[in-house]
């Protein structure tokens, strides 16, 4: 057996790092960010990735080194028991605690922007998650939800580009999670509450809406489409929806 196992375990950090290096080359990386606040989320994500990556590699190398050095097959010295090092324990408690505190402070602005500073504007639409679809309700010309001029659609959410979009998120049955990967938005939809969600798309296009909370056997079916349009196109889209909905023939 020899030192085979220590070398095998050395493969863990080597392959782990290789996977992260190769992933972006093969386009298995973060979805494109087309939101105004996404760079903050990504920055945090990268910071945590590098930090945990460094700790991971260091830990794995130490693990390898111990396995190599104290291999039972080649070591003739008897094992000795040590209670440990008080100083070392203090250090490895304090450093992670300080790091966590640092991250907690560092992420505050991103959290504030994404979850606390709701733009002062009425919701553009209400998105109601249900097993297994996204029901969407626009307030219509009067700007108020739950009035006779509301417009209804399903699974396709159109929004204007370069504007703050506020969505009222609700659920009709169980907990779902409204996830817009390209907008860097993910928010649980909780039955009984109306939760505001906001983002500002920066590019016209069609993006995914997915459910990020296992909500039942049909969870995989809950895909929707976020359509980002220019303001005039968006108005036209709404008007079209209104004409369809008011059809009398």
């Amino acid at each position: 057996m020899g030192r085979f196992w220590s070398l095998l375990f050395l493969l863990v950090p080597v392959l782990g790092v290789a996977a992260f290096v190769a992933a972006p080359i093969y386009h298995h990386w973060l979805p494109e960010d087309w939101s105004s606040h996404g760079h903050q989320i990504d920055r945090l994500w990268y910071f945590i990735l590098y930090l945990t990556g460094a700790v991971f590699v260091a830990t794995e190398i130490v693990l390898f080194w111990f396995m190599w050095k104290y291999d039972g097959g080649t070591n003739t010295q008897p094992a000795t028991f040590t209670h440990g090092s008080h100083n070392l324990e203090v250090i490895w408690t304090l450093i992670p605690a300080a790091t966590l505190l640092f991250i907690a402070i560092m992420q505050m602005s991103a959290w504030e922007e994404a979850k606390m500073e709701k733009p002062h504007r009425p919701p553009l639409a209400r998105v109601t998650a249900r097993q297994f679809e996204w029901r969407i309700q626009y307030p219509g010309p009067d700007g108020k939800l739950d009035t006779p001029d509301d417009l209804y659609t399903v699974n396709v959410l159109a929004v204007p580009v370069d504007e703050e979009v506020v969505i009222d998120l609700e659920s009709m049955d169980v907990i779902h999670s409204f996830f817009l990967p390209n907008m860097r938005v993910k928010q649980d939809a909780v039955p009984g509450s109306s939760i505001p969600v906001w983002f500002k798309p920066t590019r016209v296009g069609e993006y995914d809406i997915v459910c990020a909370e296992l909500c039942g056997w049909g969870h995989y079916k809950m895909k929707g489409r976020l359509t980002v349009l220019t303001r005039p196109e968006f108005e036209k889209w709404l008007e079209n929806l209104r004409i369809q909905q008011e059809a009398t023939q």
Binding site: Q131, F132, R135, Q137, T147, V154, V156, G218, T248, Q249
Partner: protein, 447 residues
Amino acid sequence: MTNQLTGAISVMDSKHSPMPGELAPSTHHRGPVAPLAERHGSWSRGAAWAAWAVAVCLTFAGCGQPEVEFGLNRLIVPPVNLVVQSREAQLVDQNRPAGEIAEELATLKETYLHNEQMLASALTAVFGTPDDPYAWPGLGLDIKKLRMAAGPTGVRGVTRGLYREHCVHCHGINGDGLGPTARFLNPYPRNFQLGVFKFTSTNQGRKPTTEDLERTLREGIPGTAMPSFRLQSPAEIEALVEYVKYLSMRGEVQNQLMTAIEAVGGPIDENQLAEELQVALDLVARSWNEAEDYIVVPAQRPPFRSEQERLASIARGKEIFLNAGKANCIGCHGPTGLGDGGQVDYDVWTKLQREQEARYPGLAQLWPLPVRPAEPRNLHQGIYRGGRRPVDLYRRIYAGIKGTPMPAQGQTLKPDEIWSVVDYVMSLPYEHEQASPAPPSVHRAGL
């Protein structure tokens, strides 16, 4: 063939419906891993054996699954033992001598099994199997679309198995609404086999158009477990609609043939069956193909010129709604439209179930869905299962909701009266808004 026929209700019988992605029960899983590892005492030997065992399991997982087959509609063609039991009870009631009873039952059993097999062969000849569908050309079905929707999922390079991917878990392999998730839903998933569809643009008693079924797939049915499949490509939606029609036609031809067989009384011969099959196919094909000719086109109505005019129409609608002597909306929907009119009735699918369960005691144990009465809609919820466009509501009132106690009012009410009822019904979710500033949560759903 005989195996297929003598089996119990197909969907209840788990061997018929392996769900996509489900591993077949396999004895390989209990491989020799644990004992070997202990005997040799070597960790790596054990690990190697485990790896082999897993590889073998993965290679053979899914092998040996029986081919998926259509079953007979057990409401229409009950299992032979129930038919015999029911007849036996009748004969005993008539105080016939035991010998005579035994003789008659033996003949009945033989005849029934013969007819059952003839029926199944006829259906397979005209419709093929779930893996290899076929449609008699006169039905006007597109075999290419059927192949996209039918078959197992996960075949590489071709679109196949859409029905089993998206629909089968509720609607069942036979389209009988007996998929494994069906019993947890209210309302139950549609049983296509009667060829009746609730939300259509066509007149009373007519089939839905292709566009109607496509619309149901795209929009879903709000207030039920039927979700929207809007993001499926148009070709996929067309394929699924074609397959729904196919399952529906198969169910209808089956019903027709069974009626014909019952009329014959004795064992049916091939010629008779072929004749009856032709009649059934023609009838079913015609009813589907002429659907487009019976679309209800509402009378034009000018937009309201003033708010007073709109309110007047709502008031007129309310008057008609409350008039028990005319359309009698209140009989079921209640005086305030809450669906509390107090009437108890059943839809056609449940009626058939109740009739057959009364005729064949024991069928109720085989049929997995307990009977539920039809529920008149609460009109305050703002949930419109058949669509929320005014034209949808007009058609619901004009042609009724097929298969349900909601009757057609096209002959009772004049077009402008129907429009007024539509206005009134659509105003109901917002009725309290004038009185209280906070919107009532009931029409929150609006969905």
